[in-house]
Amino acid sequence: MVPKAEFTSYYGKPVLNAPVWAATDIAGYFFLGGLAGGSSLLAAGADLTGRPGLSRVAKTGAAAAGAVSVAALVHDLGRPARFINMMRVFKVTSPMSVGSGLLAGYVPAAGVAAGTALTGRLPWLGRAATAGAAVLGPAVAAYTAVLIADTAVPAWHDGYREMPFVFTGSGAMAAGGLGLLAAPAGESGPARSLALLGQVVEMTAYERMTRRMGMVAEPYRSGRGGAYIRAGQVLGALGVAGAAVTGTPVLPAWRVRRIVAAASGAAMIGASAATRWGVFHAGLASAADPKYTVVPQRERLRQRAAAKVAAKVA
């Protein structure tokens, strides 16, 4: 049943306080974390299947994304010099605490994996680091969904069931896109597959999420959030189309195929980023308008009261 659209508020003021995070830092981190996590998987697989070009691209991408992520997170702190206080405690009730722990393991591993791959030294250490990064990478890509869902922000919290799949799908798409963009054509097959699979997962999860949310999904379809989401969908569609085509005999000319593959890769990376910015801004919009807090909660109370009456009557 659609909740009543009329509601009362205090002079239209928001009930919640909006997140103070900067989009560049935090949406940027979500994007880079997904890219890094997916790339570490590609790197491990590339090592196992003898694709050194893809391996180097993926490892470099993961390490660079990891390093920039940490810089962005520290930059976003109100007191950046106190970033080390994140290590004071490890709390499972705080996704940010868990994430800090994950990053503390993942970023050095990704860095060592890239370093050994690019310099050719200490291959045994490189193998261990690649494996470690591949184990932690998916966790890094997924936990950020828990981080935003574990707030009172309606457009984030109400999507908690599907958000991890949206984020990991998006991360897979970005990582696959990077492989398509930068890896040698002969080795980029798995990157193409990962990107296409990622797009399917992300799209399916996103549709389920927004359908389940009801009116709280409005910020995903309107305003700044909606604009970013739509841009992500367009870029994603273009990227998928281009990537799929390069996997078939349709484009015989090697140079054309290379250009289309690179463009598709870039489009998918852009789509992943646009999606994160869209989710971020949709959240901000849902916190700013009291309707998204009051109406669903009123509806919940109404349903609870109706259930109580029904139980008495029954």
Binding site: Y10, T49, F83, N85, Y143, G169
Partner: protein, 321 residues
């Protein structure tokens, strides 16, 4: 204030009947009961709080929101008096509710019930709820937010690194970041005064005892009596908010007697601590991470399969074979 007894540390949520964490040295839980039916909107609470805690000035503009120029709770407003002017019938004739009606209907305030639609003026001093299950405390990654021995929730400003996670986590929109400072700040329930056996500054300054401070259990009993009293006097819209340990945050350490729906005052009708859904969130994240790993494996399996079948080897699908 002496401890009544020292409780042995137990796993969080199991030591107390209301589910709040317990630990050695714990004292009985203190809190606020804000009876908005006697609030006169003098804002002594706002001033006393700012004076005692050296909270910086955060805006001197007139907002036009009745007499409310502090707008809402934030890093620099820890007590916020809300004013709502309503076209409602005045339902009670005695002195107690004249304050609640604000007296803005002029001469007939002391007379009989005005059922033709006079002005009702609601005033309420909002504050941090010091929830039993405090989302801000749960999500704080540095441990800056902590539970005190009085059962209150306090930010240790020497630890806070301004990550800002507590801010969107609070279902009431209480805690916020101080812009020039970078850290998160909120009501401490005058932790320093409690330690010295004094009551918080706002409670001390309140001239009508709208803000009452004391043992939470006692306050809850007193509030029940007060609501019954108002109902008997005909003020049917009086209700308690945040007193119920069965609500979405386990009950508030600072609860209210309101004369209208919570959202009229800018409060959420059914606040729930976000941590309640966290176990499910972690499970789903684990599933999503596993799914991503599976996608990774499938991507290589797919390409290896294509390579084995010999299809597309010259198109760059296969690996190094």
């Amino acid at each position: 204030m002496t401890a009544i007894d020292v409780q042995i540390t137990q796993r969080p949520g199991t030591g107390r009947p209301d589910g709040m964490d317990s630990y050695p040295g714990e004292r009985p839980r203190m809190g606020f009961f804000t009876d908005t039916s006697v609030c006169i909107g003098c804002k002594a609470c706002e001033v006393a709080c700012k004076e005692w805690n050296h909270v910086p000035e955060d805006g001197l503009a007139l907002t036009g929101m009745s007499y409310d120029n502090s707008v809402g709770l934030g890093a620099d407003t820890w007590r916020h008096v809300a004013f709502i002017e309503q076209q409602r019938p005045v339902s009670v004739a005695d002195g107690a509710s004249d304050d609640a009606s604000g007296g803005a209907s002029g001469g007939d305030a002391a007379g009989g019930a005005d059922i033709d639609g006079g002005l009702r003026w609601l005033m309420s001093s909002d504050v941090c709820k010091h929830c039993t299950h405090a989302a801000c405390l749960d999500v704080c990654p540095t441990g800056a937010l902590m539970r005190t021995e009085f059962g209150t929730v306090v930010v240790q400003s020497d630890v806070c690194n301004g990550c800002g996670y507590c801010i969107p986590a609070c279902p009431y929109g209480v805690i916020d970041q101080r812009k020039d400072d970078g850290r998160a700040w909120k009501c401490t329930l005058c932790y320093d005064r409690l330690g010295a056996g004094m009551e918080p500054a706002c409670a001390k300054a309140c001239p009508t005892d709208s803000i009452q401070f004391g043992l939470l259990d006692e306050l809850r009993e007193r509030a029940e009596t007060r609501v019954e009293q108002l109902h008997e006097a005909g003020e049917a819209s009086a209700r308690l908010y945040g007193n119920d340990p069965g609500d979405g945050v386990g009950g508030d350490g600072a609860f209210f007697l309101l004369l209208d729906e919570p959202e009229v005052y800018g409060l959420p009708p059914d606040p729930v601590v976000t941590t309640r859904d966290l176990p499910s969130m972690w499970r789903r994240a684990a599933a999503a991470a596993a799914a991503l790993a599976a996608l990774g494996a499938a991507s290589f399996a797919g390409s290896m399969l294509a390579g084995r079948l010999g299809a597309g080897g010259h198109l760059g699908l296969g690996g190094r074979r």
